[in-house]
Amino acid sequence: MAELIGVFAASHGPIIARDWETMPRDHRDKLAAAFDEIGRRLRACRPDVLVVVSPDHWVNFFINNLPAICIGIGDEHDGPPEPFMKKVYPHETLKGHAAFGRHVIETALDNEFEPALSHRLRLDHGTCIPLWRAGVDPEMPLVPILVNDLEAPMPSIKRCFAWGRLLRRAIESYPEPLRVAVLATGGLSHSIGEATMGWIDEKFDHACIKHFENGQERQLDTFLTTELDRTGNGAHEIRDWVVAHAAAGSTGFELIDYFPSPATLVGAGFASWRLPAT
């Protein structure tokens, strides 16, 4: 039986990669420390496979076929195509975990979900910045779950909770012994390419963190369903954190760090979920 052994989240703004060498030293140190802590905890739980829940930034999908949720079930994926990513994370290909990916999608289809499937994804900065900064072994087999966080209409928050529970169910029903970790990426508040670009909504971020800490799904659902449309568009990536939250059993997370990061245009958040004792 597989086992869920760790659930984490980290921001991923592309400027973290693009301007890593040139950003103010103290700011970079803060980002580095948070990513390092995620990396340290992730390694400590010795995963065999890492499920990465993140958005696709128009790298795999266009509006001619835009999945609400897509699961990567191949044994190989392509590394990040963005020039600024190739500089810092020059992996042409990354490993997939085809057997577990296939189990996730079959479990989904058997339980009233209908994700898209992909035998080969391009994993953009959304997935690869956290892998790079947290020092995840580039040989780690991945099951990417790409959530539509960018283009309306998007999956409801309620459904993202259901996805987290489904993921947990898939882990618990996998017949092989496999240590599975989950990493959600994106958020917290940011605003990209719209009239409020650059805005970091600290009020939203603090309230959001409080709800994740408390754990309770219903309150978090109400908060996000109401507030996401009132803050910057980048905050929609919190959907990925919601999937992670429910996968972890919705008992709340421990904040590793939060600070507004104007240098990378995001409210930078890092967290590690409490797991129910097994």
Partner: protein, 94 residues
Amino acid sequence: MTDYWLSKMFFDLQHDPELAKAYCADMAAVIDRYPVKPEVRKALADDDVGTLSPLVNAYLLRFYFQVRGMPEAEFIARLHAIDGGRAKEQVAHG
């Protein structure tokens, strides 16, 4: 209201560095390959961020103006000027 072909052109520019180069050399020639409406064409020629903004996804818009070589600070300033700066104002006053 999503403009499919404008979105498609922005998407293609993001994916194909050769096309992006061709676009920098001769915008009109590349635009000709897509059924883009005259008013949208004009907005492209004018780098009219405000007019293009509601027609495409915000992330594609940002990428497009990177291809255009517009400094991010200028892109942000033009976004903030949309609607007479009303969105920006609202944010500042909570």
